[in-house]
């Protein structure tokens, strides 16, 4: 594992500078998803991006992962301009990206194997992650034999086991049932808060989930995303007990405040688009 460089602590985990992204479509109509987007995410924070579906949230993650390149502008991560995949990031994408020919155990340990970690350390971490995700009995199953929710948990373990500096997650919990969801969210949260040196950026359309988990909620409008509609810091104390939190007055207040703002911004954005 590469040692964490504290010296880079002041460089942004992610820095989008005037990013534009245009997809060239087959029928020659260019589709602009992002235009003039500036975004800064500081290291060690747990940030969620909320917005209507189809607005380009996933595109932002793909840019951060280095899987897409901006049409203009630049994306920096920890002080380095991305040119190819982001070497310090893990990505839990929305697509089912597990390797169907590898067992659950082999899938989870893949990142460690690729880095050439000694086998005993691999298996040690693997066992911890299998139990964390409630997958102990399924180590030797293949992804095709699992339910959608279980596959998602394998994906989460696969991305987190390598202890990346930046974790990008695209609606990671939406496939899970309520009980598992709460459990997995708490596991991820406790893992992150134990060290607080990992940056997490996750996309969701669930505002409640966004507030419960993150330090900051970034709201984006409908496509093309020209800028963020608002950034709201969440000042709920940590560690958070998710189940109790929802009834907590400070949560309700934050939720109301953000929602009021979103409504306002959405209205403006729709009107602006309508007259544009």
């Amino acid at each position: 594992m590469k040692p964490r460089e504290i010296t880079e602590g002041d460089a942004s985990a992610l820095h989008f500078d005037d990013v534009e992204l245009t997809f060239q479509r087959i029928n020659d109509n260019a589709l602009t998803v992002l235009k003039g987007l500036n975004l800064e995410i500081r290291p060690g924070s747990f940030v969620s991006i909320v917005g209507p579906s189809g607005c380009g949230k996933t595109t932002i993650l793909n840019l951060a992962a280095g899987l897409l390149r901006p049409s203009s502008g630049s994306v920096e991560s920890f002080g380095h301009t991305l040119n190819g995949v982001n070497p310090r990031a893990s990505y839990v994408s929305q697509a089912d990206a597990l390797l169907p020919w590898k067992t659950v155990a082999a899938n989870i340990a893949l990142g460690l194997q690729l880095r050439g970690l000694p086998t005993d350390e691999c298996s040690e971490r693997l066992i911890a992650w299998l139990s964390r995700m409630g997958l102990q009995g399924f180590a030797h199953s293949y992804p095709g034999e699992l339910s959608g929710g279980m596959r998602k948990r394998v994906s989460l373990a696969q991305a987190w086991i390598v202890e990346p500096d930046l974790v990008l997650m695209d609606e990671p919990f939406s496939m899970l049932d309520v009980f598992t969801r709460q459990h997995v969210e708490e596991e991820i949260l406790s893992l992150w808060s134990a060290q607080r040196d990992q940056t997490v950026v996750f996309v969701t359309h669930d505002l409640e989930e966004a507030i419960l988990l993150s330090d900051e909620v970034i709201v984006v409008g409908s496509a093309p995303i020209t800028n963020v509609l608002g950034r709201f810091s969440v000042d709920l104390p940590r560690p958070r007990a998710l189940a109790e939190m929802k009834a907590d007055s400070s949560f309700v207040e934050t939720y109301r405040k953000i929602w009021a703002n979103i409504r306002e911004e959405m209205k403006k954005s729709y009107e602006a688009n309508a007259w544009a």
Binding site: A65, S93, D96, L98, W101, L110, G111, L114, V162
Partner: protein, 267 residues
């Protein structure tokens, strides 16, 4: 995944009834002379002949079987190897694929049976004319499946593995090769079947040994019993091979392939 249990008792007895019924009616119709024994032989005689053939000094049925199997195996191995190689090359090289693409389509469109006489002239009556025929059939099956496989390696899986830190070589090893192999394995069944068909067709047209040759000889003397006995032996061989491939496939593609085999159409 549902474990593939054997078929249940109802299915097995159903199969038995259908098989026994077919043979029974055939036997009955011949016995009451509704069917002429000269043209249709009878199941009992065919079965008896299948056993007696092995003791028959006039015939060399063991050698015939061995010859056909040798030809089929050689064309299977050579054709698959060439097909996989070509599929990988063209799948990973777009200009090459664009240049050779139309010719491969043309090649595949040629009914391979018409090539048999040509191969007979080129390679003679021995096994190699049959192997050549089989190779032209098996090659295209392996080629198209491999080509399709290299083209349909899931991009999101490649991206995921690259995010996890894989080098190009590791992407090939962990994603491309297994993905392509799953396509290739699912085409093995079809390939084995066609390898045998090609061998028999080749022998039928001109050979000194082999099941095809045996059947053609029997036909020449109007010995329907021998023709059916030859067909029966051949079927048993194909069934055994097919079961063997099933086993191999189940072991190698434990995780179950998603893609189904493309079988090139063979005339």
């Amino acid at each position: 995944m549902k474990r593939t249990h054997g078929p249940d008792l109802g299915v097995i007895s159903g199969r038995f009834v259908v098989g026994a019924g077919f043979l029974g009616i055939w036997q009955l119709l011949v016995s009451i002379h509704w069917l002429d024994h000269f043209f249709f032989s009878s199941p009992v005689d065919v079965l008896a002949r299948m056993f007696s053939l092995f003791g028959d000094q006039q015939q060399h049925i063991g050698l015939d079987l061995l010859t056909t199997l040798t030809e089929a195996s050689l064309s299977f191995v050579i054709g698959t190897a060439l097909g996989i190689t070509a599929g990988f090359l063209l799948g990973n090289n777009k200009p090459l694929a664009e240049i050779f693409g139309p010719y491969l389509q043309i090649g595949n469109a040629v009914p391979r049976v018409v090539l048999a006489p040509v191969f007979l002239i080129w390679f003679g009556l021995g096994i190699w004319s049959k192997v050549a025929l089989g190779v032209t059939v098996v090659f295209f099956i392996a080629f198209f499946n491999t080509y399709q496989g290299t083209r349909s390696v899931p991009v999101h899986i490649i991206n995921n593995v690259r995010m996890l830190g894989a080098s190009d070589w590791q992407v090939t090893r962990h994603v491309v090769v297994p993905s392509v192999l799953s396509w290739v394995f699912s085409s093995l069944h079809v390939s084995v079947g066609f390898a045998i068909i090609s061998a028999v067709v080749g022998e039928y047209l001109g050979a000194s040994h082999g099941i095809g040759h045996f059947i053609s000889q029997a036909e020449g003397t109007y010995s329907t019993t021998d023709v059916f006995a030859g067909i029966g032996l051949l079927s048993i061989v194909v069934l055994i091979l097919s079961a063997a491939i099933d086993r191999i496939e189940a072991r190698l593609v434990k995780w179950r392939p998603r893609g189904t085999a493309l079988s090139s159409d063979v005339a």
